[in-house]
């Protein structure tokens, strides 16, 4: 080969390398753009989501009481006239205190904290997915988890549960001595923040207990041992709350999956998180049907099943399902569609997948903003009781309204508030029978000396009350109406 020919070959080779480098660089740019776009989308979702007014109101009320009394309230107080003194175990006291502290500042700070929590959740989802499936499917997993979070990213929304659950899953996937400490601490904090802390041992068991390891693999065997220790630690950590051994029972009711609460609280996914259920859950089902689970990794099945059952039991957990299941589905997708997952940077297919993810997410975002829900009805009317100097014994057709009334006025006492777990079953029955106008509902209202009713407008209860004669309408808005007894004895 002559020197000229060699030079030409080198030039050709260097131009090929240059083209490949620029392709990789372009692909990296696309990936970075995709990640940034999805992150921005999640931020936009979290920032624009309406806060859960009922949860915030109750947390502010409880937080204010903790600060005022410098003690955690272990029993329902005089704010309820049906179950004052019932043991509530101080469920969620840390969460209430946190919300109260943030509510002292501006709402922007609270929103900023929510955004950080949201980003942390999805970062953990991405990390878990990337461990098992690489970058392409990690991106898809984040998009899927975000679809399961549509409508659930408000302040004090389901994202807190998703953050703790994902953090726990992340730690337990590679257990070790430090993991055990971290998992225990995380569980203790979670249990004190919310009743959903009860999910921690279940998630730990699902992740660890069914894991099969090669007995000759010393590292895997050690990890399994530490995993089991972590399981036991989470099971014990749930008692490290003011409720002590009552926590599991109280927290179970606090999960709001008990069908005895039917009607008192909403739990069906189509009522609680319709967008997340229809889009996110539906997509996850389709993804699972297409991929299945990887043979030999059947240890993933319990967590997938547990998360799905949780989401179906209460729509508030569709976001948790998405955060827990998306990395598992990403791992299965690698096995099912390996060629797609193994695409290196610069491949056309990989770029197409990334672009499709961004486009799909953009479409979801547009839909979400297009279908933004109106502010929940009745809350303004409940809060208006604060302007009334008279005390009230209030029955609300929606327990969330009573939370708003409690937070708004210290003179209001309620039939039942959002801490339904702490109310005895007899009060649940009384509430249900009253709301559904079962026989003797008038006697129940008389027995409890209810003098104020906050009811859904144009519904049977309001119509019957309006016809009854003993009540007068004092206020109303587009969706709720407030009645007072004509002869109020206070």
């Amino acid at each position: 080969m002559t020197a000229g020919a060699l030079g030409a070959a080198e030039r050709e080779r260097s131009s090929e390398i240059g083209a490949a480098s620029s392709a990789v660089s372009a692909a990296s740019t696309i990936y970075r753009t995709a990640y940034v776009a999805i992150a921005l989308g999640i931020v936009a979702l979290a920032a624009s989501a309406a806060p859960d007014p009922a949860a915030l109101a109750l947390d502010r009320f409880l937080g204010a009481r903790i600060v005022a009394t410098r003690a955690i309230p272990l029993h329902l107080g005089a704010e309820t006239f049906t179950a004052a003194g019932a043991f509530s175990g101080g469920l969620g006291w840390l969460g209430a205190l946190t919300v109260y502290v943030f509510s002292l500042g501006s709402e922007a700070i609270a929103r900023f904290v929510t955004i950080v929590a949201t980003l942390a959740t999805f970062a953990l989802v991405e990390l878990r997915a990337r461990r098992a499936a690489g970058r392409v499917y990690a991106l898809a997993a984040v998009a899927l988890a975000a679809a399961c979070a549509l409508g659930e990213l408000g302040i004090a929304g389901g994202i807190v549960t998703a953050l703790f659950a994902t953090g726990l899953a992340y730690l337990l996937e590679r257990p070790g001595p430090r993991t055990v400490v971290a998992v225990t601490l995380l569980t203790v904090i979670w249990c004190n923040v919310a009743p959903q802390g009860l999910l921690a041992p279940a998630i730990a068991i699902c992740l660890v207990a069914f894991k099969r390891v090669d007995p000759t693999d010393a590292v895997a065997v050690a990890q399994r041992r530490w995993g089991r220790i972590a399981c036991a630690a989470t099971a014990l950590a749930i008692f490290a709350t003011p409720a002590l051994f009552s926590y599991p029972l109280l927290a179970f009711e606090g999960l709001r999956v008990d069908r005895l609460l039917s009607g008192i609280v909403a739990y069906h996914p189509m009522d609680v998180a319709p967008l997340a259920y229809r889009l996110g859950f539906g997509l996850a089902v389709l993804a699972a049907l297409a991929t299945g689970t990887v043979r030999g990794r059947e240890d993933r099945i319990p967590l997938l099943v547990f998360a799905a059952m949780l989401a179906l039991a209460n729509g508030a957990y569709v976001v948790v399902f998405g955060a827990l299941a998306a990395p598992l589905l990403a791992a299965s997708a690698v096995a099912a569609f390996g060629k797609l997952g193994n695409q290196t940077l610069g491949s056309v297919r990989g770029d197409a997948v990334a672009g499709a993810c961004v486009l799909a997410f953009g479409a979801l975002l547009a839909w979400h903003f297009g279908a933004a829900a109106a502010p929940p009805p009745g809350f303004a009317l409940a809060a208006s009781l604060a302007r009334d100097s008279q005390p009230h014994r209030l029955y609300c057709a929606n327990v969330d309204w009573c939370d708003a009334a409690l937070a708004g006025s210290p003179r209001v006492r309620v039939f039942m508030d959002g801490r339904v777990a702490a109310y005895p079953n007899t009060i649940w029955d009384a509430e249900h029978d009253t709301r559904t106008l079962k026989p003797h509902w008038r006697k129940r209202l008389d027995d409890f000396r209810v003098d104020t009713l906050l009811l859904q407008k144009d519904r049977a209860f309001a119509t019957i009350i309006a016809m009854s004669g003993g009540w007068r309408e004092v206020a109303g808005d587009a969706s709720a109406v407030l009645y007072e007894r004509r002869a109020v004895r206070r």
Partner: protein
Amino acid sequence: MKYAWLVLGVFAARFLSTAIAFPPGDGDLFWQRRLGASVLANHAVPRALGNEAFAAPGAPWVPQEWLFGIAAYLGRSGWGWDVFSGACALAALAAMTIACLHAVRRGASPVDVAICVALAGIALFESFGVRAQVAVWPLLALFLLLLDIDGPWCYAAAAVAAVWSNLHASAMLAPILAGMVAFGSALDERRIGKRTRRLAIVAVLCAVAICCNPFGWDLPRYAIGLFNNPIKSYITEWKVTDIDDLSFVGGALPLLLLAMILGTRGTPEAPNDRRWRDFLLLGVFGFLVLSAARNVNIFGIAALPIVASALARRNFFGLVAQRPPTRIDRIAAVAFPVGTFAVAIAIAARLISTTPPATGLANAPLAALSKMPGDHRVFCADFAWCSLLLGVPHESVFLDGRADPFPRDVWEDFARVIRLEPSWRDILARRGVDTVVAKRYSPLDQALELARGWRPAYTDKDYRLWLRSTATRT
């Protein structure tokens, strides 16, 4: 199949006793019998509501269950009823059996089939009754089996679709399913091969076949209209599937979760050559099952063969299938079905002789009403109750169990009255209602008690019949 017979036997007992011994609980049979009588008497299928529906006389009607109505009329009493209701139970069993045979044909082991048929049976549980929907279950199972046959037999699916369209409007699913399977076949083959072309022709034939009934194009048009019809929100069966539903949580959901875990792609050792067909079918039925409680049963029937064969591919219980049959196996193959069906019939006979007749259709107040003099324009708090009044002289109803043909404004007025919206009294007055049947102590009953102008004409522990005090009788 040998273990599946045992499961089928248990369900046979349950279905037979439910069908024969328990009276219908939704009132549909009453108007279906009347429909059947009308068809036999006039040699024509009615296409509009009559004067018995005073809120919507002349409203166009597609009585999709006309063939079932004839059978219901012929089997309205005595031995006829036993044969007719028993046939409904056998239809459910036939659907399960066909789906089992489909699963076996796809290579599922006896244990896989038994597990899946038990789950599918539970999925049928709550929807089962003497109903037109049940009559089409075996047709759906047969349709899916024929679509899965790689040969000219799959053309028979179009004939099944034609029969299906004369029993129920759910026949609209036939061309959709066939189209999905054709598309899935193209993806499986990675080309438009012979099988795909054949399935595409079947899809087109099915689209034509579902018009082979007295209503022609009106049937699919009616079925499409149901997608966006507000009446679904007033009918329990159309409610969104909930984890509280026994058939869903005990039958369809485990099948769905198994399908999600196993996937449709198969394993490296046993890849699924129907991967995309199965995926699309399960996708459609998965969407349906999560959309409405009434689809739980058809999901069970459709998922059974796919999930059972997926279990076999994973070889969960496959070893049993790979063992050559022994003499005991051969004896068991005969003894199991014979024995289990004998037990089933014995249990059914026992249940039939001991189970008291159920009530719940306001039979007593409506019977009392029919003896009262004068004409009545009746509003039933549960519209299905009013089906019992169809054909009764001097009685006309606001809304009855035929449900679908009633115009939207009738449904909206019905909902306003039931919810006691402020205009409820005006609606009753404007529509000329002079009689209301309500459950005792229900909100409507309490409201009538408080309202002026109504008096109770009949009261028992469950129901109250209200008459307008100033009602004019002719």
